[in-house]
Symmetry: C3
Subunit: 104 residues, 3 copies
């Protein structure tokens, strides 16, 4: 079996950010030379998510508002984890959004 592994790094300037990484993933696929098989794209940080959806700015705002409703960032002291870090909400939000995508 042929396999190919590649790391992609992203930096965001805000606490939360949606980045369309499709071009980078397509480049990885071209670099791999693999024509057929499974492609796993997963986040290596447990407060980050990889998912497939519309790259539409209205929908992005809906996701932001919705995630804040389901797992609000503040008040910080509503979460026990925030004694350790300050990002408990990000762990929960990423759980909703999913860690990984597998495609063919």
């Amino acid at each position: 079996m042929k396999s190919h592994r590649q790391e992609l790094w992203f930096e965001t300037s805000s606490r939360r950010s949606l980045i369309n990484i499709t071009p980078q993933v397509e480049k990885c696929l071209r670099d791999s030379g693999i024509r057929e098989g499974l492609c796993l794209v997963n986040a290596m940080h447990i407060t980050a998510s990889v998912f497939i959806n519309d790259d539409e700015s209205g929908l992005h705002q809906d996701f932001e508002k919705w995630l804040e409703k389901l797992a609000p960032e503040k008040p910080h002291n509503q979460y026990r984890h925030n004694g350790v870090e300050d990002n408990a909400d990000a762990h929960l939000k990423r759980t909703i959004m999913g860690r990984e995508v597998v495609c063919w």
Copy 2:
């Protein structure tokens, strides 16, 4: 590595619908002739979901009610995406339910 890819199409008569596609997936597996390996079943639409759970009508009603609570369809104007389409809630609901299943 042996691989097999097959498309399944489904039409629903209502806005939301739960369809048990296990028989179709089992047929794909038989058609493939593959006895061992990973099976990816994923939705090709970003408002559709593939998941594994009980095919029990009470639970299906619970899912429907629960998804409406977490990501209500109406009022439509609560979502920015609905200026583009009218299905923002479906994008959110499918995020909860998951896009894909990988099994052995």
Copy 3:
């Protein structure tokens, strides 16, 4: 293609429990002798979840409280499925947490 399948069994003493199974998964990988490829770890029960996150007790309490908010166990009669079983909330909670993890 080389493949390896192994079953892990867990028993919990409480209705809900978070178990770090990383050591067992690492042992499976060693037992398999496979050095490169995809590793699927999935729950075989539809009220159980496999996910990757911090093994930090504060975060675990946050998950518990959060899942109870999103999909409360009680009152039992709020769910139709509970005429069949008494675990409708567990089906919903596991949907949030995810069924499976695929890693490289």
